[in-house]
């Protein structure tokens, strides 16, 4: 995993954001969760004795700004895709329910035939 937030080490925020975009494109949930953990660690470190680290990060942040814009767009299209897939699942579930109703009808029909 990339060393971010370590003192004296370039945080490489840009690379982290690029990797997050790529991981999201290929739905690499494991890698994204690792990256989220890294960000949590960085955030904790900055929350403590972080002023010096923040100054080190400032250059890296300016480099990462355009990559953040890309990441944001990838996130937006992913959200749209999640919505489509959820809607699709609802439709399919609705279809299943409809089929179950039909099957009840068949059973009733069978009984009716049988009762004859």
């Amino acid at each position: 995993m990339q060393q971010i937030g370590a003192r004296g080490v370039n945080p490489g925020l840009k690379q982290l954001v690029i990797e997050a975009s790529r991981a999201l494109a290929r739905l690499d949930a494991d890698r994204l969760e690792e990256l989220a953990q890294s960000c949590r660690a960085l955030s904790r470190e900055l929350a403590g004795d972080g002023d010096r680290d923040k100054r080190l990060l400032s250059v890296s942040i300016s480099e990462a700004e355009s990559e953040m814009a890309v990441f944001e767009r990838v996130l937006q299209v992913t959200r749209a895709n999640v919505s489509v897939m959820k809607r699709l699942r609802e439709l399919r579930e609705g279809k299943l329910e409809y089929r179950e109703e039909q099957s009840v009808g068949w059973l009733e029909g069978d009984r009716r035939h049988g009762d004859n």
């Binding site: 999201l24 900055l46 923040k54 990441f71 767009r73 992913t78 895709n81 897939m85 809607r87 049988g114």
Partner: protein, 476 residues
């Protein structure tokens, strides 16, 4: 499945065997479907099929109705039009931004400064502008010096040459894009023709159920078509499908297709469906054709207009000032060719003055040793003579705007390509032949989205936290 509701008044013992053998046949058919899936596991575009079961007509024996088992009535492909249409739509956007980006990168490369090279290129226009007006500043100090006068004409020639060469390159790129765009037409026609044929086959062979491989083929054709142009899909009766452009122009109506044709209008190819000009529809619709046309009809003309404004502003103002002054030879004419109108000024920009003595460094009515007109011409560098801006600022803003456009299209293309990849993963899980199931695929999508949202939120928070520390000076 209306058949099951009726009854068949027959009562032979063979009916009972029919119930049993029907069930066995159904099992065998299901096995065949599974075998077909395995055999086609590596076939591109193949959609997994699941068997359909249809309840047989009940058999009535002595007034008593017996269930008649089930018959396998064919296979239904596990495809979902909601997902495939979303995938096709995203593919159209990704292809459009991809082909536009390719053209924009070529365009941007034309204006990229060629550091270290002595060859004059369009990328040097910024420094050409500075060099040209600086030559007048140098002339101020010694207005009768022939070498300094030669330098004015030399820098003017470099500027005019680079501007006109840039315009020529842009026109050449526009022609190349025009050829790319017209080349797409035959591919579109082949695909719409194929889809129309498949519509007929599907409607004939399977009007009420999934048509299996025929629908796979049709979906593959639609996927290919989506890479080329923006389309809408409309399902019709009997498993038919109509396809229009995103603006509603019919391309496929069930069994017939409308062939696209091209014709030259204003120096470039326009696109027609029948007699209807649909060029602008195709440009905004998507697909690689949409990208080519957007670059051809929007990005390159915008760049040409910018160059025209620059050439027109500089040529007109410099010529006007020079004509108003006093030259060494007594004749003070134009330095640059006089543009008749703004449009086309870049292509025709050239230096018409051959005698450096004709440069009017002295003001009107002044002696030849006067430098007031040279001062005025040098000062043009800082006057708003090009669309309300100084020449250097105008050119700089043009380059910045171009870079910003490239960046935006790059971002869109990255996002749309990512979207296509994600949807393809979902589609493979749903309709492809593999062991993944829909639920796990959906879970992966949601997990990825949630984790990515956390990463984004935390980085955003970190960025804001650092910027609030007062280090904004390091951030543009």
């Amino acid at each position: 499945m209306d058949g099951w509701r009726g009854t068949v008044a027959m009562g032979t013992i063979s009916s009972a065997f029919n119930v049993i053998s029907g069930a066995l046949d159904a099992d065998q058919s299901a096995l065949n479907v599974v075998a077909n899936n395995v055999a086609n596991a590596n076939t591109t575009g193949y959609t997994e099929e699941v068997p359909n079961w249809q309840q047989n007509q009940p058999i009535v024996i002595n007034g008593v109705s017996y269930g008649a088992g089930v018959t396998e009535t064919g296979a239904t492909s596990v495809r979902d039009r909601v997902l495939t249409e979303r995938l096709d739509q995203q593919q159209q956007l990704a292809s459009a931004s991809g082909s536009r980006l390719q053209a924009l990168n070529t365009l941007q490369a034309l204006f990229t400064p060629d550091t270290g090279s002595t060859t004059a290129t369009a990328g040097d226009i910024g420094s050409d502008i500075t060099g040209f007006f600086s030559s007048f500043s140098s002339l101020e100090a010694n207005p009768t010096d022939n070498a300094l006068r030669q330098d004015v004409l030399s820098t003017a020639g470099t500027l005019a040459g680079d501007v006109s060469n840039a315009a020529a390159s842009l026109n050449a790129q526009r022609s190349a894009l025009d050829q790319e765009a017209t080349g797409v037409t035959s591919q579109v026609n082949a695909l719409t023709g194929s889809i129309a044929q498949l519509n007929l086959q599907i409607q004939s062979a399977s009007p009420n159920a999934d048509a299996g491989t025929l629908e796979d083929q049709r979906q593959q054709d639609i996927g290919q078509l989506s890479k080329l142009i923006g389309i809408n899909q409309v399902t019709t009766e009997n498993n038919g499908l109509s396809i229009t452009t995103t603006s509603g122009q019919m391309l496929v109506s069930e069994g017939s297709s409308v062939q696209l044709s091209t014709g030259m209008v204003g120096g470039v190819s326009d696109f027609f469906a029948g007699s209807t000009n649909i060029t602008s529809q195709l440009a905004t619709g998507g697909g690689s054709l949409g990208g080519y046309l957007t670059a051809r009809d929007q990005d390159i003309p915008n760049a040409l207009t910018s160059l025209d404004q620059l050439a027109y502003g500089v040529s007109t103002q410099v010529n006007t000032l020079n004509s108003s002054g006093t030259s060494l030879s007594g004749t003070a004419g134009n330095i640059f060719s006089a543009p008749v109108q703004q449009a086309g000024s870049a292509s025709t920009m050239s230096v018409v003055m051959t005698d450096p003595d004709q440069i009017a460094a002295a003001g009107s009515g002044q002696g030849t040793g006067d430098n007031s007109n040279a001062i005025s011409m040098a000062a043009l560098a800082n006057r708003s003579i090009v669309n309300g801006q100084t020449p250097s600022n105008y050119y700089s803003n043009f380059i910045t705007t171009l870079g910003s456009t490239v960046s935006q299209v790059q971002t869109e293309n990255t996002a749309q390509t990512a979207s296509v990849t994600q949807l393809q993963t979902q589609n493979d899980a749903l309709s492809g032949v593999n062991l993944n199931n829909e639920a796990s695929s959906m879970t992966l999508l949601e997990r990825s989205y949630q984790a990515a949202s956390q990463v984004f939120t935390m980085i955003n928070t970190i960025m804001n936290s650092v910027l609030n520390l007062g280090t904004q000076t390091t951030v543009s």
